[in-house]
C-alpha cells in the first residue's frame, strides 16, 4: 500500500513552463515523509498536481494510489479515492457553513440513496473539534470566511480528521501558525498516524518536524528529489541551508 509517484513531469498549462522534472517518490502507508526545499523548487506545484489542479498539465509519469493511476481522474474522484490536500492558502466560501460543507463532503462519499446520520455526524465533529480546541460556534461560521491564518490551518486539519483520507498531503501547514497553534495542529496530525495512512508533509522549516516527526526527509530542488535521508536530514538542512545540495548537483553534472 503506497502513494507512488513515478517520473512525474508537469508544467503550467497557461505558458508551458516545466516545474516538475522527473520526480520519483513513494510514500508507504504507515509512514510520514517530509519534503523540504528552497523557494521555487516545485513543492506547492507537487501538491496541486497530485490534487488535479487545472492550472497544471502532466506531460509524463504516473501517480499510483494503492496501485491505481489517479492522473486521469477529476479532483473530486481523487479525493473520494482517499487523497487529501491540506492547502497552504485555504479558500473562503461565503455563506456555506463549516458544518454544511463537511456534511456535503461526507455525503459525497456515501452510496447513492444513503443519507448521512446527523446525530453521529455531529458527535464525531464535536469530538474532533475538541481535539483541535475549536469553539462550537465555529460550525455555524462560513468556511474560512474571515478566519485568521491559524484558524484556517486548524480547519484544514479538522477536515482531514473528518474525511479520514488514506494519504494526506500537508502543504506548508505550519506557515502562519504561532507555537501554540502549531502544537495543536501537530497533535491532530499525530492522532491520525497509523499503519493504514501515509503523510507527505511539505514544509519550509524544520520547526514543524519537531512536532510531526518524519520517517523520511526528501529535498526537492528544480522539480526533482535530489536527496533523501532520515529525520536528521531536516536538522542538517536547517543548519547548512540548501546550497550544499545544489553544489552536489553541480559537481555531479560537471563530473
Amino acid at each position: 500500500m503506497s502513494l507512488e509517484i513515478r517520473n512525474l513531469h508537469a508544467r503550467i498549462a497557461a505558458n508551458g513552463t516545466e516545474i516538475l522534472r522527473g520526480l520519483d517518490l513513494t510514500v508507504e502507508a504507515g509512514k510520514v515523509h517530509a519534503i523540504m526545499g528552497p523557494n521555487g523548487s516545485g513543492k506547492s506545484t507537487l501538491s496541486k498536481v497530485l490534487g488535479g489542479h487545472p492550472d497544471y498539465e502532466v506531460t509524463e509519469g504516473e501517480v499510483l494510489l494503492d496501485g491505481v493511476n489517479i492522473l486521469g481522474m477529476e479532483p473530486d474522484v481523487r479525493s473520494r479515492a482517499g487523497l487529501f490536500l491540506a492547502f497552504q492558502y485555504p479558500m473562503e466560501i461565503p455563506g456555506v457553513s463549516n458544518a454544511n460543507f463537511l456534511r456535503a463532503a461526507l455525503q459525497a462519499r456515501l452510496p447513492e440513496g444513503e443519507e448521512l446520520e446527523a446525530t453521529d455526524y455531529y458527535a464525531r465533529l464535536y469530538e474532533k473539534m475538541d481535539m483541535l480546541e475549536m469553539d462550537r460556534k465555529f460550525t455555524a461560521r462560513s468556511v474560512n470566511d474571515g478566519f485568521s491564518g491559524g484558524e484556517k490551518k486548524r480547519n484544514e486539519i479538522l477536515q482531514m480528521l473528518m474525511l479520514e483520507p488514506r494519504y494526506a498531503i500537508l502543504d506548508e501547514t505550519d506557515s502562519g501558525l504561532d507555537i501554540d497553534a502549531l502544537k495543536i495542529v501537530s497533535h491532530g496530525v499525530n492522532a491520525m498516524r497509523g499503519p493504514e495512512r501515509g503523510f507527505l508533509v511539505i514544509t519550509h522549516y524544520q520547526r514543524l518536524l519537531d512536532y510531526i516527526v518524519p520517517d523520511v526527509v526528501h529535498v526537492l530542488v528544480g522539480g526533482r528529489i535530489e536527496h533523501t535521508g532520515g529525520k536528521e536530514l531536516a536538522l542538517e538542512l536547517e543548519a547548512k541551508g540548501y546550497d550544499w545540495i545544489k553544489d552536489d548537483i553541480a559537481q555531479a553534472v560537471s563530473a
Partner: protein, 476 residues
C-alpha cells in the same frame, strides 16, 4: 376525453433539463376562447363571458386605448420586448368562470396538472388556502373554514369584483393606475384570474395563502390581477408559484398586483417564479403602506426568457416600513431585469432593499432600484444592498440604482458588490470530494443563503432544489 400526457419533447437543450418539473402539458379543450389577436372585440368577448358590470367593461376599453397609445419602453428596457407579437397571442382561454371548492370537482387533466406540481399536497400540509389558476381562470379556490368565519375573503378576481364589489372597487386600480406603464395598461384591458383577498381588522392569518398560476396553452397570454387588502392591524402572508411547459413559441405573462396595508397591518408577498424559458414575464407589483404598516415583498425569479419586475412600496403613512428581498437566477439565454421601488411619502418611514442575482452562462441579471425621499420629510431611512454573482466569464450583470434623498435628517445607505466563483474555490471544494456541479450549487446556495432563510421553509427547500438543478445543467 383523452388524458394522454403530451410530454414536451424538446429536452435536448441543457436549459430545458432543469425545468422538467413543470415541463408537460395536456391537450387543450377550452369552452371559451377569445381567439388570436387583440382588439376592442377581444375586450367585449372577455366582458361578455364574465358577465361583467358596465364600469369594468368601460375600464377595460379605456385601458386598451392607453395600451395602444403607449410605445414599448425600449429606450431603457431590453429590445427583446420587440419580439412579442401581440396579434399572435390568445388573450382568454377557459372552461368556465367559477372555480370549484373541492379538488374532486376539478376536471381530471387539470387536477393531474396540479397534483404533479404538488399543490393539493402542500395545501394539506401547510397552507391556509389555495387558489389554482389554469390559463385564464381559477379552477380551484378554497380556504380553511375558520378563516371564512373570521371574515377573511380569498377568491379569484372574477368573483371578487362581482360579489365583493364594495371593497374591490374602492381599491382596484388605485395603487397601480392603468397608465402606469404599457403592460399595466394591457393587463387592465384583458385581465382575468388572480386573487382577491380581504383580511378584516385585527385578524392574523397564521398560515400562508397560496395561489398557483399555470399556463398550459401555447401562444397564450396570462393576465392575472391580484388585489390584497390587509385592514387595520391584520396580518397575512400570500405566496404565488408559477410554471409553464416549454413551447416553441413565446408566451406572455403580464400580471398586475396591488397591495394595500392599512394602519398597523403586516403584509408579506412571496413569489417563486419558475416560468419556462420562453415566457416573457412582465409584471407590475406595488403596495401602499399606511401608518405603521409593514409590507414585505420576497421575490424570487428563476425562470422565464425575460422578466421585468420591480416590486414597490409607497410609504404613505408615518412610520410605515417597506422591504424588498429579491433573488434572481439568470441562466443561459435568460434576462432577469428586476429590482425595487421605494417611494417615501411620510415622516419616519423606512425602506430596505436586498437584492442578490446570479448569472450563469450567457445569462444576464439587471438590477434597477428607485428610492425617493423628498425634501419636506423628516426621519426617513433607506438601506439598499445589491450583490451579483457571476458564474462564467460570459455571464453579465448591470446595476442601475436611482436614489434621490433630499432634506435634512433623511438618510440612505447603498452597498453593491459583484463577485465571481473562482476556479480556486471550485478546486478547493472538489478536493474535498464534491463534484464540480455540487461545488457550484453549494457556492450559489451560500451566496443567497441569508435571504433564503427568510422564505417559508417549504419554499426554501424548493429553491435549493431548483438551484441544484440549474447548476447541474450549467456544468453539463
Amino acid at each position: 376525453m383523452s388524458t394522454e400526457l403530451l410530454e414536451a419533447t424538446d429536452q435536448a437543450k441543457q436549459i430545458d433539463i432543469d425545468r422538467t418539473a413543470g415541463n408537460f402539458s395536456y391537450p387543450e379543450q377550452h369552452t371559451f376562447d377569445a381567439g388570436t389577436g387583440l382588439s376592442h372585440a377581444t375586450v367585449d368577448y372577455i366582458s361578455d363571458v364574465k358577465n361583467e358590470p358596465d364600469w369594468i367593461r368601460e375600464f377595460r376599453h379605456k385601458a386598451l386605448d392607453v395600451f395602444f397609445s403607449k410605445p414599448m419602453p425600449t429606450h431603457w428596457a431590453s429590445h427583446d420586448l420587440e419580439n412579442i407579437i401581440f396579434q399572435n397571442i390568445r388573450y382568454y382561454l377557459a372552461n368556465g368562470q367559477k372555480p370549484t371548492r373541492s379538488w374532486e370537482e376539478v376536471p381530471d387533466d387539470v387536477k393531474k396538472t396540479f397534483e404533479r406540481l404538488g399543490i393539493p399536497e402542500q395545501e394539506r400540509k401547510f397552507l391556509a388556502g389555495v387558489e389554482a389558476q389554469f390559463d385564464s381562470e381559477a379552477v380551484y379556490s378554497n380556504m380553511k373554514k375558520a378563516l371564512g368565519d373570521q371574515g377573511v375573503i380569498f377568491v379569484g378576481s372574477t368573483e371578487g369584483l362581482k360579489e365583493h364589489s364594495e371593497i374591490f372597487r374602492k381599491w382596484f386600480g388605485k395603487v397601480i393606475p392603468t397608465g402606469d406603464n404599457k403592460f399595466s395598461a394591457l393587463n387592465s384591458a384583458v385581465f382575468s384570474g388572480g386573487s382577491f383577498i380581504y383580511v378584516p381588522p385585527g385578524v392574523k392569518v397564521k398560515h400562508p395563502l397560496q395561489a398557483y398560476f399555470r399556463i398550459n396553452a401555447e401562444n397564450f397570454g396570462q393576465f392575472e390581477r391580484t388585489l390584497i387588502i390587509a385592514d387595520e392591524g391584520s396580518e397575512v402572508m400570500y405566496m404565488e408559484g408559477c410554471t409553464a411547459p416549454k413551447f416553441e413559441t413565446a408566451t406572455l405573462h403580464s400580471a398586475v398586483v396591488e397591495l394595500v396595508a392599512m394602519k398597523g397591518a403586516k403584509l408579506q408577498y412571496v413569489t417563486v417564479q419558475n416560468w419556462s424559458a420562453n415566457v416573457f414575464n412582465l409584471v407590475t407589483k406595488r403596495a401602499i403602506a399606511h401608518e405603521e404598516a409593514e409590507v414585505k415583498w420576497i421575490d424570487c425569479n428563476i425562470g422565464s426568457r425575460l422578466t421585468m419586475k420591480y416590486p414597490g412600496v409607497v410609504l404613505k403613512g408615518r412610520k410605515a416600513r417597506g422591504e424588498v428581498i429579491s433573488i434572481a437566477l439568470a441562466s443561459d439565454g435568460q434576462h432577469q431585469d428586476t429590482g425595487a421601488k421605494m417611494i417615501h411619502a411620510a415622516d419616519e418611514t423606512t425602506s430596505n432593499i436586498v437584492s442578490k442575482s446570479i448569472s450563469v452562462g450567457t445569462g444576464r441579471a439587471t438590477y434597477r432600484g428607485l428610492v425617493h425621499i423628498p425634501k419636506h420629510l423628516k426621519g426617513c431611512k433607506n438601506n439598499t444592498e445589491c450583490d451579483a454573482l457571476l458564474i462564467n466569464s460570459t455571464a453579465r450583470t448591470d446595476t442601475y440604482p436611482a436614489i434621490t434623498v433630499r432634506g435634512t435628517g433623511n438618510s440612505s445607505q447603498h452597498e453593491a458588490s459583484v463577485s465571481q466563483i473562482s476556479a480556486e474555490q471550485i478546486f478547493y471544494m472538489q478536493q474535498r470530494g464534491l463534484t464540480e456541479a455540487q461545488a457550484m450549487s453549494l457556492s450559489v446556495n451560500g451566496f443567497v443563503n441569508d435571504l433564503v432563510r427568510q422564505f417559508p421553509m417549504e419554499y426554501s427547500v424548493e429553491l435549493k432544489r431548483l438551484i441544484d438543478l440549474e447548476m447541474e445543467g450549467s456544468v453539463g
